[in-house]
């Protein structure tokens, strides 16, 4: 079966500093892949390369059998930090509507040079996406008035509303508490029934309960089955002694 993400011999560097070297990664359709690693290890860079926001210096990246740039509209993306100012005059509903620009995998077009208006189908899709992430009641709120957890749900709805085949999340629970972290990952588990999911996280123990495979990234990439991730693997990945703390969510 053709992998939905197929990376072969990929190298990337910012200037003269190598960030990712000799990356090989094949992600199967329907997989829930966790990506872990130390800060500045190249996790977010890997996601941006898959999304087509960065270009590798060498090697190949295939996404859904296309180049990353042409496949990006078939991917839902939740960034680590929102790249917009929180005081921007925009409602939750309008933010999610932006996820419908460029059409969906089932319809619409990429002709974003042409004028477009919000259709009834767009409005229905926005309502459904917000309901799916349990944020239907905040549709009319201003984006700046939301708490961290509410904002994450809205960004998740924006990623889902375009009906993506792959969902990519960069530390989606970094700024929210543990209870909400569990709720978000429970939601992701249900979405996994219909789409492939890649999620970056710092909490290896926590995501192990949800993901089927873990990709350890620290300039290079090594994949492990979830069960095989133990103290030695973590220590090797971080390159120094890591204090393991048993905790429950």
């Amino acid at each position: 079966m053709t992998p939905v993400i197929d990376i072969r011999g990929m190298n990337f560097s910012y200037g003269s500093v190598p960030t990712l070297s000799g990356i090989e990664l094949q992600v199967a359709d329907g997989e829930f892949l966790g990506i872990v690693g130390p800060n500045a290890g190249g996790k977010s860079t890997l996601l941006k390369l898959i999304l087509g926001l960065l270009q590798p210096q060498s090697g190949n990246i295939g996404v859904l059998g296309r180049t990353p740039r042409t496949a990006s509209r078939l991917i839902g993306y939740v960034p680590q930090y929102p790249s917009f100012p929180r005081d921007f005059p925009i409602s939750v509903e309008q933010v999610v509507q932006l996820g419908r620009l460029g059409g969906t995998q089932n319809g619409g077009s990429r002709q974003t040079f042409l004028p477009t208006w919000v259709s009834d189908a767009d409005r229905t899709a926005v309502q459904n996406a917000l309901a799916e992430v349990e944020a239907g009641d905040i549709a009319k709120r201003q984006i700046g008035s939301l708490s961290g957890g509410q904002l994450q749900r809205v960004l998740l709805a924006r990623a889902l509303v375009g009906d993506p085949q792959i969902l990519i999340l960069d530390e989606p629970t970094a700024n929210i508490d543990q209870r909400l972290e569990g709720e978000i990952f429970d939601l992701l588990k249900t979405f996994n029934a219909r789409m492939t999911i890649l999620v970056v996280s710092h909490d290896v123990a926590f995501i192990s309960r949800y993901v089927s495979r873990v990709a350890c990234v620290n300039r290079t990439l090594v994949c492990h089955q979830t069960d095989a991730v133990d103290g030695n693997v973590i220590q090797e990945l971080y390159g120094e002694h890591v204090r393991m703390i048993a905790h429950s969510h």
Partner: protein, 290 residues
């Protein structure tokens, strides 16, 4: 003020000035809103000041200054936008360079222009009372162009000003729409130069939209309120300056600046009061935010 309204019914030049103010306020409200929410006032300033080069060249070669202003503004906008998209690190240096070079070129051209030339001050600070009636049609055309393009592409513009990275992922040609946005800001600068001159354009482009942003929370409403506010401030400034024979441009800008400062202070006070009230209610109900 009464004298102004009496004179308005009698003098064609005053009627032209009022129509000019109304036409300019459309651009100031619509494009000013984008300038404020995208936080690109410095870029708009660079475009405005580099326009003097185009106006000076037009005067030197015997054309209407306004006809030199439009291509100069659009060229400056595209150059600044292109550099910002390609080499973000050099953006502020390039804007400063264009700002200064544009003005220097303009002053040299005007100084060496043959025959009698209008005072340089009238280009820098504008003179709404001297706008020729034929220019009104030019302004109408520019307003129609702005409104048509913004209405057609409002979703793409919203995506680009709100979150460029996400817009790019959705297949929106971010570079194209960013440059188009800057070109439309350049057109607005040319509209506003008629009213307040190129030195003061930045104030009229940002202050009404910033005041509107204090009270409404959608781009559409911000544009509407900023347009109405821009029109009111311009006509009020014109009326206030008429009696004591003050220059209209600076009077309009002082009014706009005063409105902005008052509004900013008022908003701060209201926000603090709301926060105190919310905190008191939250404590009383024992509520916590998610």
């Amino acid at each position: 003020m009464d004298g102004f309204f009496t004179a308005l019914s009698q003098h064609a030049f005053l009627q032209t000035a009022v129509i000019t103010a109304l036409l300019a306020s459309v651009g100031c409200g619509v494009m000013g809103t984008y300038v404020v929410v995208k936080r690109i006032a410095f870029i708009a300033g660079g475009i405005a000041h580099s326009v003097l080069g185009g106006m000076g060249a037009a005067v030197y070669f015997g054309f209407e200054p306004l006809h030199g202003a439009l291509p100069a503004a659009v060229a400056a906008a595209l150059l600044i936008g292109w550099v910002r998209l390609r080499w973000q690190a050099q953006e502020d240096t390039l804007i400063s360079a264009l700002w200064a070079i544009g003005m220097a070129v303009g002053v040299l051209f005007i100084a060496k222009a043959p025959g009698y030339q209008a005072d340089l001050m009238s280009y820098l600070f504008g003179n709404i009372l001297l706008v020729p009636r034929e220019s009104l049609w030019f302004m109408v055309a520019l307003d129609l162009l702005l409104l048509t393009i913004v209405a057609a592409y409002h979703r793409q513009f919203l995506a680009v000003v709100f979150d460029e990275e996400f817009a790019r992922l959705r297949g929106v040609p971010v570079g194209f729409f960013y440059l188009l946005l800057l070109a439309l800001i350049a057109v607005t600068v040319v509209l506003l130069i008629q009213v307040v001159g190129l030195i003061l354009v930045l104030a009229l482009l940002t202050l009404p939209a910033a005041v509107a942003g204090h009270y409404v929370h959608s781009l559409g409403r911000m544009m509407l309120i900023a347009t109405l506010l821009g029109a009111t401030l311009s006509i009020a400034g014109l009326a206030l300056s008429y009696g004591p024979d003050l220059p209209a441009g600076p009077t309009i800008i002082l009014l706009a600046g005063g409105a902005y400062i008052l509004s900013a202070v008022l908003t701060q006070i209201l926000d603090r009061r709301r926060a105190k009230l919310a905190a008191a209610q939250g404590t009383w109900r024992g509520e916590t935010r998610e």
